[in-house]
């Protein structure tokens, strides 16, 4: 359980990190919090020949509101985002999801960008990015580009990031409608373990209680977190009554095709994905109506 040998250097700025990445070739990797990469290296599932450390680059971390977006630096620690008043006030869904990410010991090192760039299929942050259609800002020596979450998460542990790119910033759109609510539910073997299935919902209601805007996404039940467009279309315009939610979430039986493993077989995961989705919808609806702050 020891990593294969590698060279190490500390980057002093984003430019410096990008330069080192492009000079380091295909086997160079960035290391931020290391909470995903170091275990992969210990198991020798990853064998980079050069690690470029981006910890301590001040311009990589920070949390701010920019117009209708919450902007988080890729190097921001998960614990700092979880404790941030800005996050709690403007995007409570993200704070809720972060409380399920690992433990204090891993959140104190793990970063927002690191979790997204590694794209574990059961991780909570990719699910939230997919749900809210976050924009990923990727920088390389040649360019800075914006990648939409919908094309960022390609498969399990695979993203649209090029080997020479650094995920510097994540921009989460903020919903400004008055009656907006969110829901997040997951089932895991142990508190804070990876989710067997997780569901996240954000929605808006009009004055009569009809749903005018609705995003639903699930994680852990597919290679990458996925939006449930079919269920969204079916529920838009309705009052999201319990029996409607129960009936429409039955579609998950054919929409998701999870992989079974030693912890839970595929049929159980499919069932849990449906129940979590139903509960997340209920929580979001109740929050939007102000009955579940």
């Amino acid at each position: 359980m020891k990593a294969a040998p590698f060279d190490y250097r500390r980057a002093t700025s984003i430019d410096d990190a990008c330069r080192a990445l492009s000079e380091g070739g295909d086997e160079a990797r960035l290391i931020a919090g290391g909470q995903t990469l170091v275990p992969l290296m210990a198991m020798r599932l990853a064998r980079p020949t050069l690690l470029i450390d981006i910890n301590g680059i001040a311009e990589m971390s920070g949390i701010a509101i920019d117009g209708d977006h919450l902007v988080i630096g890729g190097g921001t620690r998960q614990s700092d985002a979880l404790g941030s008043e800005i996050v709690q006030r403007h995007l409570p869904l993200l704070a809720d999801a972060l409380s399920h990410v690992g433990h204090d010991q891993t959140r104190n090192r793990g970063t927002i960008g690191g979790s997204l760039a590694n794209a574990d299929p059961a991780a909570e942050l990719p699910l939230i990015a997919q749900l809210l259609e976050a924009d990923m800002i990727a920088r390389s020596v040649e360019s800075t580009r914006t990648i939409a979450a919908s094309s960022f998460f390609e498969s399990a542990m695979a993203t649209a990031l090029a080997p020479n790119e650094c995920l510097t910033e994540i921009r989460f759109p903020l919903w400004r409608e008055q009656k907006t609510g969110y829901g997040f539910h997951e089932v895991s073997i142990r508190d804070s373990d990876f989710a067997l299935a997780a569901a996240a919902v954000q929605l808006t209601l009009d004055d009569k209680g009809a749903c005018t805007r609705l995003h639903i996404a699930i994680g852990g039940a597919s290679p990458a977190p996925m939006r449930l467009g079919e269920v969204e279309s079916a529920l838009l315009g309705t009052n999201l009554e319990d029996r409607t939610l129960h009936a429409e979430t039955a579609r998950l039986a054919t929409l998701v095709d999870p992989q079974g493993d030693i912890h839970a077989d595929a049929s159980y995961r499919r069932r849990v994905a449906r129940v979590m989705t139903e509960r997340a919808l209920q929580s979001a609806r109740d929050r939007a109506m102000g009955t579940n702050p």
Partner: protein, 161 residues
Amino acid sequence: MSEHKITVCVNGNDMSGHAEARLTLVDFLRDVLGLTGTHIGCEHGVCGACSVIMDGKPVRSCLMYAVQADGHDVTTVEGLEADDGTMSPLQDAFWENHALQCGYCTPGMLIAGHALLSYNLSPTDEEIRHAIGGNLCRCTGYQQIVEAVRMAAEKIRGETS
């Protein structure tokens, strides 16, 4: 592979040594500095036995390379006792409550408990369980560990002698 000369402030003392880039912090503490109180369990971030406090916060020392700790502050389980060797209230409470059997998880449990009590001296049982949620114990069933942390909080608050 690169080798680095690093200095880490461990339990209040600057300690230097050489570390190959791939040497984890826990291996550096144990094999280079000889501080074997911190245990290595799973070596990939699951069991929590290797927990240490870095710059005031609990982290897993198997999930970072020693070279990354260069210039930082680390507290290990050896740093919890008083200068004269007296056990801390938390360590005492572990002893009084039989919060360990084989002792393998104990350094990590003590670090997790210590980190919790550093900002919350009136934790609920749920908060205690959450704080040790990243640490595996296969002997105690956790109940005595929760009781020990609760008793340590009471002692530090001055409610029990």
